[in-house]
Amino acid sequence: MSELRSILTDSVNGLFGDKITRELLTRFDETGDDGGVWAEVEAQGLTRPLVSEENGGVGGEWRDAHVLVQAGGFHSAPVPLGETILATWLAEKAGLEVPEGAATVIDGSDGSLSLTGDGRTGKLSGRASRVPWGTKAETALVVAPHDGGPMVALVRMSDAAHVAPNQNMARESRDDVSFDGASVQMAHLPNDVPADVILQYGAMIRAAQIAGAMDKVLTQTVQYANERTQFGKPLGKFQAIQQEMSRMAGEAASAGVIAEAPFAALDEGLNPEWQIAAAKARASEAAGIGASVGHQTHGAIGFTYEHSLHFATRRLWSWRSEFGGARFWSRRLGARAVDRGMDNFWPDIVSG
């Protein structure tokens, strides 16, 4: 691990570990208030790992972003960290101003949004559903069709015509946003960035968050199984419990290994599309097993609001469906495999 990466790993886990308590997450559920976590994330300079130093970033690698996002998943960080990392990266990459503050990403490449105008300014119109942190973000990076092909646009969320607040099961905001000729800065999509970059890279972010949350559920469950005594011995001494927890551990390990793959591919200058598809499909499948074994082992107490297990499990159940679920990404991966044919199946596995 590079020096930068270990520093980032230590600071982000230190920050989240200290600050994100059960009380803080409870207040977030009730009021949407993050208890100052975002301010601290910004103060520590963790929102721009991929942005160059000239633009106020740290000029890091994708795997540096990975450790931040995974830590956010582990600690149930109620902040748009992954979204802001993507937005700041894409803004700089496309030659736009790198946005300050919390940012989100919106995929309009399916035609739900459209851009008009010439040169570096234009207008954004259309409707986007389930925008992550739409009510929290100050700006959004949007990819949407334009006459001359897909473009990237930077829009202020305060310029949206309407924002209808909505939430996922973890009460993270997932809002319906409409734009009616909102003013934007815009730029051409860089050549090496696909039109559905928001969908793809968003899925990559969610897979890494799932891997983090899987680790959290596993850690909590191991601790509980060693502390809770029934029939005169800790739960963890029962073989039935051990067998299931080992299965969960295998799923957590699988999610962790594949979630890292697309970040590593990007650092090697490779197209991460198939690793992203594999990561989101596999991690989304693992999420259900992790949540299920975690709850089964915790018994009734883990089913209460008072116990903290649900902060991770409600996120697992939410994140697995966001930016495409297991079925969506399996079909995409399957369509490629079928297209490439049986003779290429193995060579493609080996080459990533």
Binding site: W274, A279, R282, A337, M342
Partner: protein, 380 residues
Amino acid sequence: MGFFNFEPAALPPEAEALRPQVRAFLDEALKDKRPVDRAWNWMGHDQDFSRKVGEQGWLGMTWPEQYGGGGRTFFERYVVMEEMLAAGAPVQAHWVADRQSGPLLLRFGTEEQREFFLPQIISGNACFCIGMSEPDSGSDLAATRTKAEKVDGGWKVNGTKVWTSSAHLAHYMIALFRTDAEDKHGGLSQFIVDMKSPGLTVSPIINLAGNHHFNQCVFDDVFVPDERLVGKPGGGWNQVVAELAFERSGPERYLSCIQLVYELLGIAARSKDPAMVEEVGRLTAHAMTLRRMSLSVAGKLQRGENPALEASVVKDVGGVFEQSIPEIAARLVDEEPTLMDASNFQQVLAFLTMEAPSFSLRGGTREILRGIIARGLGLR
């Protein structure tokens, strides 16, 4: 966080450089093999094939050059292994020796043993089998009863080993015998048994598919000379634990049903059935994940770290994956499995459906592996 260490590993260029050579070799060597023949995977036995592999310098690749080994990295060996498995090459005649018997001798064997056995393995001439299980000692290896008694110049062995894969074809067995009745774990020792030894009777145990992989081996006053003790008397338990880490570490632990994935993919390509396409994608995601995990274990071997825990995770997750494939294929495709004259899919499905129960038994049952993982989690 931090129960396991699956550090990402990337294959170095010298390892990737081997891949086209291995593929070219396999294209030629396997050109007459049908998919159902390839489905035997690492259970396929062909000593001539193993000799050819040896001629390529692909056996004992990581072993020191002084014994004829290749002095190469675990990553180079990994590429050769995974290409053989993906192609369904009949590797059984050298697999066990190359994977675990040779490394065992390198670690615990005497100089004479290394000089005698390693060159035979490296040339593809020596097939090894593993004598661990007994009628009353399956997963409970410490219950081993087959007894080796000290006699003049060696040991006299009496007892029975079962489920011994390839014993009827092997030249040597690495066997675990009881040398001290009083000390459960510390009373076990490992020996190399010549399969031609007088008093050793090998008889087939036919599996449910009618195939002959494993055997019963009865030892009736079999003499094993002193110089065929491996390591220390009483060191058998610890040596076996180290050996099993090697046994569980390779890519064979997720690729057993790969031929059926190919066939399923072929059918999905023709039918365009969305359910099949989706399932092919799901299996692809699993295979990509397991391959990265398995490669990470190779990285641990290369760094000289103990791969036991992570290898158990890969074998457990990989075993579930392998066993799911015939179930998925049978659910999605309306073709009846048969070994008779039929489509490749039907034959491969029939063969692997009947072999699949063994995937979570051999090399440590699923329950034993999960016990090892639970210990790694700190539950026991």
